[in-house]
């Protein structure tokens, strides 16, 4: 039966891994993802899971080994964060280009310099166009659920999936989690669907060939098409998830109170709780506020966002990353792109907050919602006006 356990985000992910029973885990420790690998090594050392654990010498080698194992037909998991994900960058594209269903948990953390171990989304936003499905967890339960779902989706979409959980706010927070029985997880993920394209399938196949201008573009278009099919696979996945575990997981976006909202907040990850509370306080004040949490960032849920946001006067994007392009954060740029062309499209204010683990305070959110929303890009909570002065 389902058990209720107190788990940190990292512990919940490690437990999900054990239940998923991967053939191979190749991983390298990095704050704040380290405990995932530590805890999983303990499962292996105690014989609680019969996974081949490859304790590699770098994140680049971690993902490289995952590519080798997945190409051989194994179910493969890994985890990283920040600099580690940046070091994997080259291999991210190879994993998706070879259509390998690798699942990776990313404990979201800021990028250097200056070096900082705390949470923001700079790391995974840097990988947003690498051909990986990206989902962002709201809480520890969600991190656990989405990790289980990710394997189901990856093996059917034949694409790698990143399950992102906010560094420290989720990875190190103890929350009550409903843990499903091992057998239920086994039944849910089952064996991977048959695949005629593995190295160990008996045929002398060549994986990772050289493709020149006469064929390269077809490979890349096929990859884009695979990504376009992901929403459908996700729909099927959450349906199967509901059947097995009785829990509803929104596949693309989670909207609350947007039907009549004048102001709609858009957010990724764990700060959705704070944003939802701010919207509720707005309601108490008489402001019609709503919330859209983007669950799946890749592929980008443009249609779902248009539907949820079309009626709002103002959209406030709250995000923990910056494109450093003068256009604001990546989520803001893409929300604007999704809304472009709508008749009476809402005004978008892109609020960048919480870089390097900076807290987002309720009072700041309330003040923002009470003010005249300016549109454009706002950096919330930056102290010392001099840093904002252009040269």
């Amino acid at each position: 039966m389902t058990r209720r356990m107190g788990l940190t985000g990292n512990e919940a992910v490690a437990l999900a891994w054990k239940q998923l029973r991967p053939h191979v885990v190749a991983a390298y420790p990095i704050t704040p993802a380290t405990q995932i690998v530590e805890r999983f090594s303990e499962y292996v050392a105690h014989g609680e899971v019969d996974t081949e654990f490859v304790p590699v010498e770098s994140e680049h080698s971690a993902l490289s080994a995952c590519v080798g194992a997945a190409a051989a037909g194994a179910r493969v998991l890994t985890a990283t964060a920040s600099q580690g994900l940046a070091l994997m960058h080259e291999v991210l594209y190879i994993a998706s280009g070879l259509r390998l269903p690798i699942v990776m948990n990313v404990a979201n953390r800021a990028l250097s310099a200056p070096i900082n171990i705390h949470g923001d989304h700079s790391d995974t936003m840097g990988s947003r166009d690498a051909g990986w499905v990206q989902v962002y967890a709201r809480n520890v339960q969600d991190a656990y659920d989405r990790t289980l779902l990710a394997v189901w989706v990856a093996e059917r979409a034949r694409l790698p999936v990143m399950v992102c959980l906010d560094g420290f706010t989720l990875t190190h927070s103890l929350e009550p989690v409903e843990v499903y029985p091992d057998e239920a997880v086994r039944e849910f993920v089952g064996e991977a669907p048959p695949d005629g394209y593995t190295l160990l399938g008996g045929e002398p196949i060549t994986v990772g060939p050289l493709a020149l201008p006469d064929s390269y573009m077809e490979f890349r278009r096929a990859l884009a098409a695979a990504m376009e099919r992901v929403p459908r696979v996700l729909e099927e996945g959450v349906r199967a998830f509901r059947q097995h575990f009785g829990r509803d997981l929104p596949p693309l976006v989670e909207a609350k109170g947007t039907e009549d909202a004048d102001v709609a907040l858009v957010i990724l990850g764990s700060y959705a709780d704070s944003a939802e509370q701010a919207a509720l306080r707005g309601r108490v004040r008489g402001q019609r506020a709503g919330l859209v949490r983007v669950v799946t960032f890749r592929p980008f849920p443009a249609a779902a966002l248009r539907e949820a946001l079309a009626g709002a006067r103002d959209v406030v994007v709250l995000e923990r990353a910056d494109t450093l392009s003068g256009l604001g954060g990546p989520l803001g740029v893409e929300v604007r792109a999704a809304l472009y062309g709508l008749p009476q499209a809402p005004r978008v204010t892109d609020v960048i907050f919480g870089l390097g683990g900076r807290e987002l305070r309720d009072a700041e959110l309330d003040a923002l919602l009470r003010s005249e929303l300016p549109g454009g890009v706002v950096y919330l909570g930056v102290e010392g006006a001099h840093v904002l002065e252009p040269a």
Binding site: T51, E57, H60, S64, G68, A74, E90, L199, I205
Partner: protein, 313 residues
């Protein structure tokens, strides 16, 4: 150990015809011998480089065995993953065969950019053979220096000019770095000595755990010799003791071929264009000869030290 020339000629499996390796390229010899001595099914993992480029141009492939190319610096890490998958699948009864994983990289992918992932895989003790086809420079990108490039050799990034006469530094001794990992088997071989090379590949495949064979594999455009003189150039490298043939089995050194009357290294240098600028400079040639002599002596010392330690061997 018993492969003779007639048997070899009957083992025809090799790269399929039509691959795009240059005339006078050394690595098809290595692949052919690898297939000839393999007793288990193979899975080949290949680093980015000439071999990958000339054998896998989509929609064709020259490989008669399962083959995976990931990137330049990660052949050994990728092989770790394949080997881990073989183990895990077999443990669960999901794989009946027991393929051996062979990683192949050039000196760029092995000595330089891939050294970290190579060292990591050796230290972890994966059951795989790593073959380096060492042509002593980055040939795929058009002949740039590597840490395997010998002193004095001209490459496009160690050119010959008024202030510099080819590569200023001697080559790195990767085989010794590998030996320092304490793996069961490491060897140096050359495409010129096919029986010796075949025996070393066979031993490397038979070992349980990591094995390494560093094969001197001349590159026609990079070394600048007439295509038909591939074997001859490699032969001179061995006969001059520029490239000693030896193996280290469980820490025990053995020189597998001792040139009876070693030729001066000048003969090796003269056979190629990459040293042409040096030949008139007696001191430069003498310096290379001294380097060769010192390294041969060091190798002999390792062999005799080993003998003193274990007299029965």
């Amino acid at each position: 150990m018993s492969l003779n020339l007639r048997e070899l000629s009957q083992r025809t499996q090799g790269l399929a015809p039509g691959h795009r390796a240059c005339a006078g390229c050394g690595f098809p010899v290595v692949v052919r011998l690898l297939f000839a001595v393999a007793r288990r099914p193979l899975v080949v993992v290949n680093a980015t480089g000439c071999m990958e480029v000339v054998t896998t141009l989509y929609p064709y492939s020259a490989w008669p065995v399962p083959y995976l190319h990931n990137a330049f610096e990660n052949a050994a890490a990728t092989a770790s993953g394949v080997e881990a998958a073989v183990k895990a699948l077999r443990r669960r009864g999901q794989l009946d065969t027991h393929p051996k994983v062979v990683a192949i990289g050039g000196d760029g992918g092995t000595y330089d950019i891939g050294l970290q992932s190579f060292s990591g895989a050796l230290e972890r003790g994966h059951d795989f053979l790593y073959v380096c086809y060492n042509n002593e420079a980055y040939m795929n990108t058009g002949i740039q220096r590597s840490s395997a490039t010998p002193q004095g050799a001209r490459t496009t990034t160690s050119p010959v000019g008024r202030l510099q006469r080819g590569k200023p530094q001697p080559r790195k001794d990767l085989t010794e770095i590998v030996v320092a990992h304490g793996i069961p088997y490491a060897a140096q071989a050359s495409v010129s000595h096919w029986a010796d090379l075949a025996r070393k590949l066979e031993k490397g495949l038979a070992v349980v755990g990591p094995a390494f064979v560093n094969v001197l594999t001349p590159c026609q455009p990079g070394w600048d010799y007439p295509p038909e003189r591939l074997v001859e150039v490699a032969h001179l490298a061995v006969e001059s003791r520029y490239w000693p043939l030896y193996e280290v089995e469980d820490g025990r050194y053995r020189i597998t071929y001792v040139p009876r009357e070693p030729v001066p290294v000048r003969a090796f240098l003269e056979a190629q264009g990459r040293f042409r600028h040096l030949l008139a400079d007696e001191e430069a040639v003498a310096e290379i000869q001294r380097w060769v002599d010192i390294h041969w002596r060091k190798l002999q010392e390792r062999v005799s030290r080993e003998r003193e330690r274990s007299p029965g061997a």
